[in-house]
C-alpha cells in the first residue's frame, strides 16, 4: 500500500462527489439541514409523548381527582356516567374495568396522583411538613452474594463519611432541600438544586454510582442509576454514521455496476490502495462529524469546568467512537461487495444499521448496572461525558473486538475486490463463500479463520441471549444452548465448506481429519485468548458465564486436575465437531447441513453437561 496513491484515490473520491453535488442538490440539502436545525428544538420543546390520551377516566369535575387527571396528557377525562371509560372515579370509590387496559390505567393513575401530590405540596408554606422525609442515597459495593470468593473483604469497615453525615437541617423553604451534606461531590447531583426536578438541559452527570456519588432530595427524586440523557447524547454519535454508510456503500456498489471499477483495477495501484483511498474520505468525514458532536456536547454539558477537561472529554468520546465508525464502514463495504442491486444494498445496509446500532447502544444502557456494558464503546462515551476517567485497559477491552472485526471484514471484502467477483451477479451467500475462499491459502489458514471468527461468534451469541431473553427460562435455556452451539459450529465449518466448494482441498478422509482438527484448534485458541481478555477486563462478568464460561472453563472452582481436563476437553470437543462438519462439507450441501445439525446437537449436549455439573 502506498500513501501517495491512496491519497490520490481519496482525492478523486472527494472531487467526484463534489462534482455530483450540483447547486440544486446542495441547495436542497442545505434546506433539509436547516429544517432539521429548526425542527429539533421545536419538537424537543414539545416533548415526544407517545402515550397521549390512551386511557379514559370517568371523573366528575368537582372530584379531587379531576385536576390530576386533567393535568396528565396520558388521560382523557370523561363524564363518570359514561360507559366508555377505563377507570371510574365516583363517590363510592375507584373502579377499573376488569381488563389489562383497566388495570394498566389504574396503575398509571396511581403514579399520576403521586406526582400531583408532590406538586401540590410544593406550594405549601410549611416545607418540613409538606416534605417530611429527606433522602440521600449512597451506593456501596456488596461482597459476592452466596459465597464463591474468599470472604476476607467482609471485614472492611464502612468508609468514613458514609455514616452520620449530619449537618443537614433547618433548610426550610419549599420543595426539595438542596443542602449538600458533604459526602463526595463527584457526580453533580441533578436531582437536587432546581426546584422540583430535572427540567431544562439534559443532565449528564447525575447519579454517578460508579464512584459512590450520592444523590439527595425527596423520596420521589430517588431514581435508579439509569444514564438516559447521556445515552441520548451518545446516540447523537451513531445516528450520523447511518447516513454516511449509505453514501459509502453507494460508492462501492457504483464501482461494480457496468464494469466501472475496471479502470481502477487495471491501473498500477493495488487493491489495498483503492479500498483505503475510497474509504479514507468517509472515515475522515465520520471522525469530523463525531468531533463536532463531541465538542458540542462537551461544551454544552461540561462534566467539569475548564477547556482542558472539555478537550479530554471530547477527545475520549471521539477515540471511543472511531472503532464504531470503522465497523460501520467495514460491514457496509462487505455488504456493498456482496449486493447485486441497489434494492438489495438498501436491505443490507438497513440491517447493518439496526444490528450495529443496537450492538453499540444496548449494552451502554447497563452502564453502572452491569459490567456487560463495557463491551460497547458507547459506555466509554457515557462515562467520559460524566467526567469519569477511562483507563487504557478499558479502552482496549471495549474497542479491541471492534477493531479486529473491522480488520477481518475489510480483509474479507478485499478478497473479492477483483474482476471475477466484482462484476458477476451471484447471490449473497455464494458471494460470502467466495470471499471466505479468497482468504484460504492452505490448511493452516483454516485455523486462522476459525480463530478470527471469534468476535463475530460473540456478537452472534450476545444477540441470541438478547433475543431469547423474553421467553420463559425453561424454554429459553435449551434454545440458547442450541443456538450458541449452532453459531459456534457454523463459525468453525463454513470456511471449510467454502474451501471444499471451490475444490481447494482434496475430498479425502485425511484432509477432512486435518482440516477438522485445525479448525477446532484455531477456534479453541481464539476462545482461550478471549477468555484471558475476559479475565483481565471483566473479572466478575456473570452473564457471560452461562453463555461463554462453560466452554472456557472460567470461573469454575475445582481441583487443578479437573481444571486441566476442563481446559482441554473443549479442544477435543471442537476438534471432533469440526471434523464431523468437515466430513459433511467434503460431500455436498445436504450432507453439510446434516452434519451441522449433528455437530450442533453434540456440542449442545456437551454444554448442557458442563452447565448442569459445574454451574
Amino acid at each position: 500500500m502506498k500513501a501517495r496513491k491512496t491519497l490520490r484515490i481519496a482525492r478523486w473520491e472527494v472531487s467526484k462527489n463534489a462534482g455530483q453535488f450540483d447547486r440544486r442538490t446542495v441547495a436542497v440539502a442545505a434546506a433539509v439541514l436547516l429544517l432539521v436545525a429548526v425542527l429539533t428544538p421545536l419538537v424537543a420543546s414539545q416533548g415526544i409523548t407517545l402515550d397521549d390520551g390512551i386511557y379514559r377516566v370517568g371523573v366528575a369535575e368537582d372530584s379531587p381527582y379531576y385536576d390530576p387527571v386533567a393535568e396528565d396528557p396520558t388521560f382523557v377525562a370523561v363524564s363518570p356516567e359514561t360507559e366508555n371509560a377505563d377507570v371510574w372515579i365516583r363517590s363510592d370509590g375507584i373502579r377499573a374495568t376488569d381488563t389489562q387496559k383497566g388495570r394498566a390505567a389504574l396503575a398509571e393513575l396511581r403514579t399520576t396522583v403521586e406526582s400531583y401530590n408532590d406538586r401540590l405540596m410544593a406550594a405549601e408554606a410549611d416545607g418540613s411538613a409538606a416534605f417530611p422525609v429527606e433522602v440521600s442515597v449512597e451506593y456501596v459495593e456488596q461482597d459476592r452474594v452466596g459465597g464463591g470468593g474468599a470472604s476476607a473483604p467482609a471485614t472492611r469497615t464502612p468508609d468514613e463519611g458514609e455514616v452520620g453525615l449530619g449537618g443537614s437541617d433547618g433548610s426550610g423553604g419549599d420543595g426539595s432541600p438542596g443542602d449538600e451534606s458533604g459526602t463526595d461531590a463527584s457526580g453533580d447531583n441533578s436531582g437536587t438544586g432546581d426546584g422540583d426536578g430535572q427540567v431544562g438541559a439534559p443532565s449528564v452527570g447525575s447519579q454517578g454510582s460508579l464512584f459512590g456519588g450520592g444523590q439527595q432530595g425527596t423520596p420521589s427524586d430517588v431514581a435508579p442509576p439509569f444514564p438516559f440523557e447521556s445515552l441520548v447524547l451518545a446516540f447523537a454519535f451513531v445516528l450520523p454514521m447511518n447516513f454516511v454508510i449509505q453514501a459509502y456503500a453507494s460508492t462501492i456498489l457504483d464501482e461494480r455496476i457496468n464494469d466501472r471499477g475496471e479502470l481502477l483495477l487495471v491501473s498500477p495501484v493495488s487493491r489495498g490502495d483503492i479500498i483505503a483511498g475510497k474509504t479514507l474520505p468517509y472515515l475522515l468525514g465520520m471522525v469530523a462529524i463525531a468531533s463536532v458532536t463531541a465538542v458540542g456536547i462537551a461544551v454544552l454539558t461540561p462534566a467539569a469546568d475548564g477547556a482542558v477537561s472539555i478537550a479530554t472529554t471530547a477527545g475520549t468520546s471521539v477515540l471511543a467512537v472511531i472503532p464504531i465508525a470503522l465497523l460501520f464502514l467495514a460491514s457496509s463495504f462487505v455488504g456493498a461487495m456482496f449486493a447485486r442491486s441497489f434494492k438489495e444494498l438498501t436491505f443490507v445496509t438497513v440491517t447493518l444499521s439496526v444490528f450495529l446500532t443496537s450492538y453499540a447502544f444496548v449494552p451502554a444502557i447497563f452502564t453502572n448496572v452491569h459490567p456487560v456494558a463495557s463491551i460497547s464503546p458507547l459506555t466509554l462515551v457515557v462515562r467520559a461525558l460524566r467526567g469519569t476517567a477511562v483507563t487504557l485497559g478499558e479502552y482496549a477491552f471495549s474497542t479491541g473486538p471492534l477493531y479486529l472485526s473491522s480488520a477481518v471484514l475489510f480483509a474479507l471484502g478485499a478478497g473479492v475486490y477483483r474482476e471475477e467477483d466484482m462484476f458477476t451477479q451471484r447471490s449473497v451467500p455464494l458471494k460470502f463463500l467466495d470471499a471466505l475462499n479468497g482468504q484460504i491459502s492452505g490448511a493452516r489458514s483454516v485455523a486462522k479463520l476459525s480463530a478470527l471468527s471469534i468476535p463475530f461468534v460473540f456478537v452472534g451469541e450476545l444477540l441470541a441471549v438478547a433475543l431469547l431473553f423474553a421467553l420463559p427460562v425453561e424454554l429459553s435455556m435449551p434454545i440458547l444452548l442450541i443456538a450458541i452451539a449452532f453459531v459456534e459450529e457454523v463459525a468453525k465449518s463454513v470456511h471449510v465448506y467454502a474451501g471444499f466448494a471451490h475444490a481447494r482441498f482434496a475430498r479425502s478422509l485425511r484432509s477432512v481429519g486435518i482440516l477438522g482438527f485445525l479448525s477446532g484448534l484455531g477456534f479453541f485458541l481464539g476462545e482461550k485468548a478471549v477468555a484471558v481478555a475476559q479475565l483481565v477486563g471483566l473479572p466478575d462478568l456473570e452473564l457471560g458465564r452461562a453463555a461463554f464460561g462453560t466452554v472456557t472453563g472460567l470461573g469454575v472452582e475445582t481441583s487443578p486436575l479437573v481444571l486441566a481436563g476442563l481446559l482441554f476437553a473443549p479442544l477435543a470437543l471442537h476438534a471432533v465437531t469440526a471434523t464431523t462438519t468437515a466430513y459433511g462439507a467434503s460431500r455436498d450441501r445436504r450432507w453439510y447441513a446434516i452434519t451441522l445439525v449433528w455437530a450442533t446437537l453434540v456440542h449442545a449436549a456437551y454444554n448442557l453437561t458442563v452447565v448442569s455439573h459445574l454451574g
Binding site: 421545536l42 397521549d52 390520551g53 394498566a104 433522602v135 433547618g170 435508579p224 438489495e344
Partner: protein, 349 residues
C-alpha cells in the same frame, strides 16, 4: 391498468429472486424481539414487582428514629424490615449481602426525617433495590404527611388502589405497535428510491421507454409494488400480535393509516429519485427528508405514532379518525401531484 401491474409485478419478482427482502422481515423480527427484551428487561429492572412477585426486599433499619419507619415497611408484603441498633452492624450485614439496603433514619429539629439510604452498587439488583427504596420512602412520606396534616393547608389526594398491572402493556401499544407498523413504511420508501435510481444508473430506462408504457405507467407500477409491501407487512404484524394475545382494537383503520403513510413516503422517495437520479444523493436526501417530515408530525395535534397507539388500544377520539382522513388526503394529493409532473415532464433523458 394491467401494464402498471406488469411493472409492479416485475419489481416484486426482482425482490423475490434476490430474496434479500427476507432481511427486512428479519430486521423487524429483531426489532420486535429486541424492544421486547429491552422493555421486559428494563421494566423488570424498574418495577420488579411486575415480573417476580416473590422477591422480598429486606431493609436494614437503623438510626435513632428507625422505629417510625418499621410499621410502614411491615405494611407491605414485598418489604421486610430488619432492625439494627448500630449502623455498623447494619452495614456489616449489608456488605455480606444479608440485607438489600440500609435505611438510617434520624429526625432533625424541625421534625423532618432524614433518611440515609445505602443501595448496592454496580450490580443488576441496584435498579431493583433503588426503586424499592423509593417506593418505601414514598409510603413513609405519605404516612408522615398524614401525621402532620394539621400543619398543611392543602390535603394530598388519596392514592388510587394499587393494581397489579404490567407496565409492558402500555409499552406494547405506545412503542411496539407504532414501531412495527412504521418501519416497513420507511423501508418501502427507501427501496422505491432504489427502484427508480437503478433504472437511471444502469441505463435500463431506455429499454422501458421503448415499450408501450407511458412514464406515468412506469412510475405508477414501481410505486404500487413498493407501496403495497408496507401495509401487507403491517397487517401481518397486527395479525401476529393479536394471535399472540395482544388485542388490536381498530385494525382496519390502522391499516388505512399505514397505507396512507406508505403512499406518502413512497411518493417522497420516487420524487427524490426522479429529481436527483443518483442513488447516493437521493437516498441521503430522502432519509433526511423523511426524518424531517416525520418529526414535523409531532407538531400536529396528533402524531401518527400516537394515532396508531390510540387506535390500537381502543380509545381513539374523533380527532384520531379525522387525522386518519387528513393523512390519506394529503398523501393522495402528493401522489396525484407527482403523477401530473411525471405526465407533463416525462422521465427525462
Amino acid at each position: 391498468m394491467d401494464k402498471r401491474l406488469t411493472v409492479a409485478g416485475r419489481e416484486l419478482a426482482s425482490l423475490r429472486s434476490e430474496k434479500t427482502i427476507v432481511l427486512a422481515i428479519l430486521i423487524q423480527l429483531f426489532v420486535a424481539a429486541f424492544s421486547s427484551f429491552l422493555a421486559v428487561g428494563l421494566v423488570s429492572l424498574y418495577d420488579p414487582g411486575s415480573v417476580s412477585n416473590q422477591f422480598v426486599v429486606e431493609f436494614g433499619v437503623t438510626g435513632e428514629d428507625g422505629e417510625d419507619l418499621v410499621p410502614v415497611l411491615e405494611a407491605k408484603d414485598g418489604w421486610r424490615a430488619v432492625e439494627y441498633d448500630t449502623e455498623e452492624a447494619a452495614m456489616r450485614d449489608f456488605r455480606r449481602g444479608e440485607i438489600h439496603a440500609v435505611l438510617a433514619v434520624e429526625r432533625g429539629d424541625d421534625g423532618r426525617a432524614h433518611v440515609w439510604a445505602t443501595a448496592p452498587d454496580g450490580n443488576v439488583r441496584t435498579t431493583l433495590v433503588v426503586t424499592q427504596i423509593r417506593d418505601a420512602l414514598e409510603a413513609f412520606e405519605r404516612h408522615e404527611r398524614d401525621r402532620l396534616s394539621s400543619r398543611l393547608e392543602r390535603t394530598p389526594v388519596e392514592l388510587p388502589p394499587d393494581s397489579s398491572s404490567s407496565p409492558y402493556f402500555g409499552f406494547t401499544y405506545t412503542v411496539l405497535i407504532p414501531l412495527l407498523t412504521f418501519l416497513p413504511v420507511f423501508l418501502s420508501g427507501s427501496v422505491a428510491v432504489d427502484a427508480i435510481a437503478e433504472e437511471y444508473d444502469r441505463g435500463t430506462l431506455e429499454l422501458l421507454r421503448v415499450t408501450p408504457l407511458t412514464p406515468t405507467d412506469i412510475v405508477d407500477g414501481k410505486m404500487l409494488a413498493m407501496g403495497i409491501l408496507a401495509p401487507v407487512q403491517a397487517g401481518a404484524w397486527l395479525a401476529l400480535l393479536s394471535f399472540n394475545g395482544t388485542q388490536i382494537a381498530n385494525p382496519v383503520e390502522i391499516l388505512l393509516l399505514v397505507t396512507g403513510l406508505s403512499l406518502a413516503v413512497v411518493t417522497m422517495g420516487a420524487a427524490t429519485a426522479l429529481a436527483f437520479r443518483e442513488r447516493k444523493q437521493s437516498q441521503f436526501l430522502f432519509s433526511m427528508g423523511v426524518l424531517v417530515v416525520f418529526s414535523a408530525t409531532y407538531l400536529l395535534p396528533e402524531s401518527p405514532p400516537n394515532a396508531v397507539a390510540k387506535l390500537a388500544i381502543g380509545s381513539p377520539p374523533t380527532l384520531t379518525h379525522a387525522m386518519v382522513g387528513v393523512y390519506l388526503v394529503i398523501s393522495a394529493v402528493g401522489f396525484l401531484a407527482l403523477r401530473r409532473v411525471v405526465g407533463r415532464r416525462g422521465l427525462g433523458t
